[in-house]
């Protein structure tokens, strides 16, 4: 493309944009940088509010303390397992459902859509859900975490719209060449849908990684908890004072540098995935198979 002559107004617009966006970047990045700085700092500097962008009293001690807790690693492993299994199940179910719904000639299609959308608006409520999961015998198993939220209706609708926009001609051509329905899905549709699949993968993976509530509800043993529940408890422990009236030095409190380290270790992996998947966001929706 030829570089276009830019009007003065456009340049001003760009300037203002840059300023605003820089502001946004600072506001979003600062807390994170602060957490990183805290995680490498000594507790006393944090408590007195002296840690901002750079660590003070640099120390790796906190990392040693946190990583020395076997429960942290047990829960961390759980998070990885839950995320992988749940995302896999969610992807299979959502893709199949969305693909079916994208076919306009499907009988009862409206009904099937409404079944899904209905759950967006109405739900059984906490206690009935718990009773259900419990009577299915899923409490204290991985299934309680990975099954109840397997299909996100929002993601389902996004995917359905994407499939609807794929040119029908491609599938017709494939059918004429002798592919079965599943063959069409597997060999034609899915390869063309990498963008939306990558997006959904990220959506699901992030939400399962971050989720704590289902695990908290349905699991009763700390060995089964994901690391998010562990983290949440540690943060709560920093404010819950117990054994008041007691003496000197050590508290029944979890120090704020321990919190920072735990936060950091928890978000790091999912953060690292972002840049690799994000490029699909941009190219994703624009992709088309048939030109002109």
């Amino acid at each position: 493309m030829v570089t276009m002559a830019r009007s003065r107004g456009y340049r001003v617009f760009q300037g203002i944009n840059a300023v605003i966006l820089t502001g946004v970047v600072i506001v979003t990045l600062y807390p994170f940088v602060n957490i990183i700085a805290r995680s490498f700092s000594e507790e006393r500097y944090i408590v007195t509010g002296q840690v901002n962008l750079l660590p003070r009293g640099f120390s790796l001690r906190t990392y040693e303390v946190v990583t020395a807790d076997p429960m942290f690693w047990t829960n961390y492993r759980n998070t990885v397992v839950y995320t992988v299994v749940a995302t896999a199940i969610a992807m299979v179910l959502t893709t199949c459902y969305a693909y079916v719904l994208s076919k306009k000639h499907l009988k009862g299609r409206t009904f099937l859509i409404w079944v899904a959308v209905f759950t967006m608006i109405f739900s059984g409520g906490l206690i009935p859900n718990y009773v259900l999961v419990n009577s299915l015998g899923m409490t204290n198993t991985i299934w309680a975490v990975v099954l109840p939220n397997a299909i996100s209706v929002f993601n389902l609708l996004v995917m359905k719209t994407f499939f609807e926009n794929l040119p029908q001609e491609l599938e017709e051509a494939a059918a004429i060449d002798g592919l079965s329905t599943y063959g069409i899905l597997w060999r034609v549709v899915l390869p063309l849908s990498k963008a939306v699949i990558a997006t959904m993968l990220l959506f699901y993976a992030v939400s399962f990684w971050n989720s704590w509530f289902t695990a908290f509800l349905y699991l009763n043993e700390q060995e089964l908890f994901p690391v998010t529940v562990y983290l949440r408890n540690i943060i709560a422990g920093a404010t819950g004072a117990e054994n008041a009236g007691a003496v000197i030095g050590e508290a029944s409190q979890v120090a704020s540098n321990i919190q920072s380290v735990t936060i950091l270790l928890t978000v790091l992996p999912i953060l690292a995935v972002y840049p690799f998947v994000q490029r699909y966001f941009v190219s994703g929706v624009m992709l088309g198979a048939v030109k002109g």
């Binding site: 408590v47 009763n220 529940v229 008041a244 009236g245 007691a246 003496v247 000197i248 030095g249 029944s252």
Partner: protein, 545 residues
């Protein structure tokens, strides 16, 4: 199906049906249900001073509030020794401390709760009363000799009455204290006071004088800043100032306050004592003695101001005094000295105000169907209410985790640390042994309570204990319909009181508008609310007083 024990199916949805069931039981309220069929494992006779030991090995589920500072370990000496002594194995259902209430509500609501549900703060149990999911424990006190003994010995009946519901029964076994225990007060920089020849203030008026003198010396600073402003503005400060005027504020705010002179309930947010509290604090803010951000800032900010020497007075308890302030101050401000001062006094005189009960144990009603029910009640009585049980839960096993000298003073074992009593010791009483666990340890004699206190804290307690206890308010339990009605009125009233309390104190609203403010409360059903309380109070007095 007339037995209580059969009315258990589908507790989660039972709220509607069980209200009806509850009515029918009213007449037999005082009569203990027949438990002769649930005596498996129970001791034939169990009394005060006796070691409980089940006649056969039994186990119970217990809801366990998992504290991140001492995460649950299944190999704790606490569990082993408990089983050895009592023949009872507890099976903890671990719930993170962060969301304990949520999970408890869910489990009780869905009928999946463990039999023993500790760490419940009154009045949280009231939410479960209507559904019939929890046991009216007051009907079964005959199985609990230690509990009854302590209630009688320490004259705790008035406190227990405040736990009673409109049916005259209570559903929560609270932790019992021998005496009122006051912990929260103000921390003061005594080195600054000494420097300027000021005395430690004993009354709120003296505090005002001291702050004023400090302001003269440091005109650019606020001599006092405060913490515990989130989520309840002035949680501790409003509380202790209001107490000095016979009112309730901050964390302790309740809509109705008993006016013993008039012999009736009055609305707290409109009573003269409450206004005086506001006037006092407004004076501090107006004269720039108290940091106006005190009521809204995060604790972190308040601590920073105090610890960096920009402020000299702050709310504190024994633990924050040391952990949040002294250790930090000693590094940042050389020569700094701080003391937790006895709660300053006000017009009502030398009283210590507080309750002798704390959070306690709920029991699932389905326990009645358990063949070990009687043994369970005896076990609970032993662990939570007997002197031996309380000592065991707090200090552990004599010779292993602690020793006791001839005078009965406790001492930790050499290799065990707890709250810095044995700094540097390799093991920790809570983390490695599971004793002094918030789930199992509370209440008890003053001696036991004081056994972990420092000299400094004991001196504070000595001053506080010389004061007279403030009388307990008479109970006024609502019926279910009344509670529903009250809840509808409470929220708008509370919001209005809280907002305007702050406005008055910060000077955003002039105190000359007090009467207008009371009228606004009136429009929000203040009087109807007090009438409701009065009705409940009089009914309870007639039926159960």
């Amino acid at each position: 199906m007339r037995e209580i024990s059969r009315r258990q199916a589908l507790v989660g949805l039972g709220a509607f049906t069980f209200v009806l069931a509850g009515c029918g039981e009213g007449e037999t309220a005082k009569k203990t249900a027949d438990v002769s069929g649930n005596k498996a494992g129970a001791m034939a006779s169990f009394g005060v001073g006796q070691q409980f030991k089940a006649t056969e090995p039994i186990s119970f589920d217990v809801l366990y509030n998992n504290h991140p500072f001492y995460p649950l370990k299944n190999d704790w000496l606490f569990w082993q020794e408990l089983t050895k002594r009592t023949n009872v194995t507890l099976k903890p259902v671990a719930v993170p401390l962060s969301d304990y209430e949520k999970k408890r509500g869910l489990l009780v609501g869905s009928g999946q709760a463990p039999l023993i549900i500790p760490k419940t703060y009154h009045p949280a149990e009231e939410a479960f009363v209507a559904s019939g999911a929890i046991l009216p424990v007051s009907d079964y006190l005959d199985l609990m000799p230690n509990f009854k003994d302590k209630v009688a010995k320490w004259r705790l009946e008035p406190e227990l009455n405040t736990f009673r519901q409109s049916d005259g029964r209570f559903y929560l076994l609270p932790g019992l204290h021998e005496d009122i225990w006051v912990d929260y007060s103000l921390a003061v920089r005594t080195d600054i006071l000494e420097k300027h020849n000021l005395e430690i203030p004993k009354t709120w008026d003296e505090l005002y004088t001291v702050l004023k003198a400090l302001k003269a010396e440091y005109p650019d600073l606020y001599p006092m800043t405060d913490r515990w402003g989130v989520p309840t503005p002035g949680g501790n400060l409003l509380k202790i100032v209001a107490q000095a005027y016979g009112a309730k504020g901050g964390w302790e705010y309740q809509h109705a306050t008993w006016d013993s002179a008039a012999g009736k309930f009055v609305y707290t947010g409109a009573m003269p004592g409450y206004k005086q509290m506001i006037e006092y604090l407004h004076k501090l803010v107006k004269e720039k003695l108290l940091d106006p951000e005190s009521f809204t800032q995060q604790d972190e900010q308040a601590k920073q101001k105090f610890n960096s020497g920009k402020s000299f007075v702050i709310s504190a308890n024994a633990q924050t005094l040391i952990n949040d302030h002294r250790t930090q101050l000693s590094k940042l401000v050389p020569g700094a000295k701080i003391v937790k001062i006895p709660v300053p006094l006000g017009p009502i005189g030398e009283y210590k105000i507080g309750v002798r009960t704390e959070n306690g144990v709920m029991i699932s009603k389905k326990a009645l169907e358990n063949k070990n029910f009687v043994a369970m009640m005896q076990f609970i009585d032993w662990l939570w209410y007997s002197d031996q049980g309380q000592e065991f839960a707090k200090w552990g096993v004599e010779g292993t985790t602690f020793t006791k000298d001839a005078s009965g003073a406790y001492k930790l074992a050499e290799d065990v640390d707890f709250v810095g009593l044995n700094p540097g010791a390799p093991k920790h009483l809570q983390k490695d042994f599971g004793f002094h666990n918030g789930v199992f340890t509370y209440g008890g004699t003053t001696k036991l309570l004081h056994s972990t206190f420092s000299e400094e804290e004991l001196a504070f307690q000595k001053v506080m204990n010389a004061r007279k206890p403030w009388p307990v308010e008479p109970p006024h339990p609502f019926t279910d319909e009344e509670r529903e009605q009250a809840a509808l009125w409470e929220t708008p009233l509370k919001d209005h009181v809280q907002q305007n309390t702050l406005k008055f104190i910060l000077g955003e609203r002039d105190l000359s508008e007090w009467d207008a403010y009371v009228k606004e409360l009136e429009a929000k059903n203040m009087t109807s609310y007090i009438n409701l309380v009065t009705t409940a109070y009089e009914r309870f007095k007639k039926e159960h007083g």
